[in-house]
């Protein structure tokens, strides 16, 4: 059975989305995207410099990658909307990760302003992915407003602390009927795998790949662990028990008698 994530008519097989900030160079960023066979990459519009023919970040995103512009730097809904519109005008497409941050210390998103931006941008036919603090009610509102997926954070951006918000994310996965993409805070491939095992539709990773000693290898490691986690999820993960459960039960013969 073919397994893919379908968003706005696009079929995505690789469920590892990669953020393009923080890399030591654009060529290394490109190699990492290629090594992971990434199909979706986020790019901050603030970094896009169309004037520079040799150093425009967009030229280093493989053609096979869907670009998702993020609104990094926006402090309220209005600024996020303006950045999204500028992205569209600049020809960067209409996939938008809405990032509204009013706290520069922890870089935690403002869910309310994010929701307002979702409402505006959906009406303008953007494909909208809100980055948010995990919250069931807000997630539902984002979905009702027309977000194609929601992106709750695992822990603060760049913290490499893993899925500290696991309980809340699990609830969102169980209750919200659009894809849940865990974004931010994943520090190691096993944590990305954990998100996939829980049933996340995808994960988005940047820092852990970009600042590792070998970003190209690390991108592959994340890609493979995301794949493993997804396979495990699809296979049905057995419930963990506190006691042993024998592979060949002693009372198995009773079944034969029945």
């Amino acid at each position: 059975m073919e397994d893919f994530l379908e968003i706005a008519g696009k079929k995505i097989q690789n469920r590892l989305f990669i953020g393009t900030g923080k890399f030591s160079s654009y060529p290394i960023m490109r190699q990492a995207l290629e090594a992971a066979e990434a199909e979706v990459a986020t790019v901050a519009l603030r970094r896009v410099d169309p004037d520079l023919k040799t150093e425009n970040i967009m030229d280093f995103v493989p053609k096979s990658c869907q670009v998702m512009i993020n609104t990094s730097g926006a402090r309220n809904a209005d600024e996020a909307v303006r950045i999204a519109r500028l992205a569209k005008t600049a020809g960067a497409g209409n996939w938008i990760k809405i990032e509204v941050i009013r706290d520069n210390k922890y870089l935690l998103p403002d869910n309310l302003e994010t929701l307002k931006a979702v409402e505006v941008l959906v009406k303008e036919n953007f494909v909208v992915f809100p980055y948010m603090s995990p919250d069931l009610s807000m997630g539902r509102r984002m979905a009702e407003a027309g977000a194609v997926a929601v992106m709750p954070l695992g822990s603060p951006i760049g913290s490499n602390r893993g899925v500290k918000t696991r309980e809340l994310i699990e609830i969102m996965i169980n209750e919200i009927n659009i894809p849940i993409i865990v974004d931010a805070g994943l520090g190691r491939p096993s944590e990305a795998c954990e998100c996939m095992e829980l049933g996340s539709a995808a994960v988005l990773v940047n820092t852990a790949i970009a600042v590792s000693n070998d970003p190209v290898k690390m991108a592959r490691a994340f890609s493979e662990s995301v794949c493993a986690g997804r396979l495990a999820y699809l296979s049905g993960i057995p419930v963990a028990e506190k006691t042993a459960s024998a592979s060949s039960p002693l009372t198995g013969f009773l079944r034969e008698e029945e």
Partner: protein, 369 residues
Amino acid sequence: MSFYDIYKKYKNFDLEKRFRVCTFFSIQSALENARLDINQFICLLSPPAENLLESMAQKAHALTKNNFGNTIALYTPMYLSNYCDNSCIYCGFNSENDIERRKLSIEEVDKEAQYIRSLGLKHILILTGESRVESPVSYIKDCIQILKKYFSSISIEIYPLTEEEYTELVNQGVDGLTIYQEVYDEKIYSKMHIYGPKRDYKFRLDAPERGAKSGMRNISIGTLFGLGEWRKEVFFLGLHAKYLQDKFPDLEIGISIPRIQPQVGGFKPISMVNNRNIVQVILALRLFLPRLGISLSTRENPEFREGLIPLGVTKISAASTTAVGGHTLAHLGQKSSQFDIQDRRNVDEIKLMLEKKGYQPVLKDWLQI
């Protein structure tokens, strides 16, 4: 509430006494904490912490990488005018100094901007001396109108303004404010600033806060090394940055720690700060405030700058000149400059150096929205 209240609270604080109780173990324990309190910040600034610089550096480096990635932002200063009504004894623009005074015409601003932009730079810091007659807010607004055509981010380093004036400049397209207190110690401040509007310590101290209220996105503060005792100055600088971060969480707060360099007036630093001290300052500030922007100017020489970069620096200047029109009006040269620069490398050389060190030079990190 203003930062002045915090300054007053700690003005007579016995930092030396606190330093005496800092031990290897208290410093080590500060290094193990994710969030440092003021006492732990003091520990990292203490003389005994000099023996733990390498451990501090390792942690500061990792913290900076996670927060800012393998990237360093580039910018360059552009001096618009050197007319000044102040007499600050350490500054080349001191109105007593016999230097060639001038300000750029709008055409010259355009020319400088075109040139700087041709180097690939997109972030500009504009500077003036303090003269409300020669470089009034209206003149600065006219310059910004031109600069907007060329740059993605415009910051100002000019005399302190009122909140209304800052708002006017924000509406015109300015997104960043740099204003150094120069020296937090109020008594020394009074001795350094002989006459002129800059004598008003408190109006300057509150300027970052007025800027923050006006809608600026970045606020950068600093203390000029060579005036007050450096440990005490950095203590106040750290408190000031923290105060601004706490009060304005949506702003990017940055610092700079310029060291006095030779200038026309021939002022000699009254308090010495060596390279080892500068390293300790950067490390202590980075560990105390992990999200703090740290900017490094060309006042430091190339080798030292390169050594400092991995310790927590997020932003450096390139192709700097401190003379009015210094980018394109070569004939003016040093005669009108504010101070000597030590790192004269051009943008390509700085970019190459960063790439060699494993950093991506970021020329554009904002956009006019």
